[in-house]
Symmetry: C2
Subunit: 193 residues, 2 copies
């Protein structure tokens, strides 16, 4: 599934501009999908060229004019066929966990800082999520509640893991650093070659 399909899906819930599509994705798909303008605008252009969406200019007072897109009948058809036809992918790409995998190459302060950053990020994300859910949950479909609930559950589990293993990891890494193995900070300081 590419951003084209995502746009069709969002537009199936109502007319939106490119900017507003990105806002919707950020709010509703926060935990499991993202899309930048560099993907959205070309996708919209291609969809319009193919007749799956129709755009029209909308003047606004107090802010720039926008181009609002609506999904067409063929667009709805394409969306249905794409959702049925593609196998469901689910990919995690975590540079954070790669960093943790190589924790023994990091200075202890850096390790602690990274851990704290992620804990804060997950906490904030969860709070924003809960807030968004509370404001909208009575208008959501079963599928929307399911997807949002999944994200919330998984992030909560991740946060819990981080909080419960932070100290242990920090201790173990410090101990093994102290036991003779050189740490990256040292190597760096000595690296003068």
């Amino acid at each position: 599934m590419d951003v084209k399909t995502l746009c069709l899906g969002v537009l199936s819930m109502g007319e939106r501009s490119g900017y507003e599509i990105k806002k919707t994705v950020e709010e509703s798909f926060h935990h499991f999908f993202r899309a930048g303008y560099g993907s959205i605008y070309p996708a919209l252009a291609e969809l319009e060229r193919a007749g799956h969406v129709a755009g029209r200019e909308v003047a606004q007072e107090g802010r720039p004019a926008k181009r609002v897109y609506g999904i067409t009948a063929t667009g709805r058809d394409l969306l249905g066929r794409t959702l049925v036809g593609e196998e469901p992918r689910h990919v995690v790409r975590s540079e954070f966990l790669v960093l943790m995998y190589f924790a023994h190459l990091l200075p202890a302060e850096r390790l602690a800082a990274v851990l704290d950053t992620m804990i804060a990020r997950f906490r904030d994300g969860l709070a924003a999520d809960l807030d968004h859910y509370a404001r909208t949950h009575d208008q959501l479909t079963a599928g929307q509640r399911f997807a949002l609930g999944y994200g919330r559950t998984v992030v909560a589990a991740a946060l819990d893991y981080l909080e419960r293993h932070r100290e242990t990891l920090l201790d173990e890494v410090t101990v093994s650093d102290a036991s003779g193995r050189p740490q990256a900070g040292d190597a760096l300081a000595a690296a003068g070659d």
Copy 2:
């Protein structure tokens, strides 16, 4: 962090060919990172050009010759600096959850099939993971145990959520379909193309 850094990291654990790097990533980073040949081979070529890794041909009997790379001193230095300097990203891209978000556009059988596919995938992944962990856990560093444990915990939480909400979602979607709203399967059957 790009695949170049990933390669340096893997090579810091020992010499490997491009093919073997991919194997290592699949085994050890299964839950949180992946890299294809289309990224690994160019990364290796660029790293060698810059002097961060050194490659040599190794003949093998009974299988094709391979080109094995080892990390150099400047490579180790670059790895340390990169791991310290980059902010930790963590991105999930789940077409599966987008699909669930739009569950009301899916025929019930398709929805059930997608759910079952994901449950099976997570179950298998978890089993392979447990197996890999059991075979290697006494040689792992604290950071490696932490990263692997994170992956295991999060996948287990996801699997649990899926198993506990599968029936509910299926019921709710079926009910709302029956209550008059047309479903994608109908639209598709009527579309005649």
